[in-house]
Symmetry: C2
Subunit: 151 residues, 2 copies
Amino acid sequence: MDPMTVPVHQGTGYPAPFDADVRARKKRKLGDALGLTNFGVNLVALPPGCWSSQRHWHSKQDEFIYIVSGILTLVMNEGERELSAGMVAGFPAGVENGHHLVNTSDADAVYMEVGDRLAGDICEYSDIDMRTQIIEDGKTDRYVHKDGTPY
Amino acid sequence: MDPMTVPVHQGTGYPAPFDADVRARKKRKLGDALGLTNFGVNLVALPPGCWSSQRHWHSKQDEFIYIVSGILTLVMNEGERELSAGMVAGFPAGVENGHHLVNTSDADAVYMEVGDRLAGDICEYSDIDMRTQIIEDGKTDRYVHKDGTPY
């Protein structure tokens, strides 16, 4: 399959004001389009200035990224690092080191992300008063304040 | 991380004579090197004539591939299809359509493969008298004939 045939989803479901820096993100859900369910694979384009997400880490799910084109800045607890095309990074479940990618260059950048879908995962955001909470069905999550109050 | 810093594993654990066509395969286990456990991510180089594997499908595990460079021929029940750099394919768990990649070109080709590690998976080989069987610990598998006799 040619990934360019997969529809683009632009934006984020983050509550305001946390959506602002991620709003220009364009995601193609390749794994879903191919019928995969155990993990997701997305091809993501970030224009200059755009973030991949708010800085976060997952309690149960692993994450992997591969830089397809352009240059992206990986931000973690220990600081920043530039990643160029062909480089990879991994974020093992349960490691409390929030990460995200920021396009600090003046050109578009594209990366591929893989994440599994183990049930009961919680996502903690490092820099803002937000985390996710599993709701009644045991699968879906929602954004809440650190004290559990819903957004 | 630069994938080129990850050690190369050449070859296959297939019993003879099924190893012959896969012997030149070079695999870098990126996910393992990054500390990921829920799924594997490998960067695989196939010289001309080499196969990715024997043609197979998985009972419980999803698979995804992304062509990094070169041209590879995807073989499935319905025939052959050429995949060039940037193209992707997915093989959902339980779909009884054996697949593999063959480098029918005269240049090296490189692809990235992702597969989850759900327990209890069985791998069925389409063209040969082989499948995998889970052994006592419930995690490890081994190669057996279709009738269950070990190789």
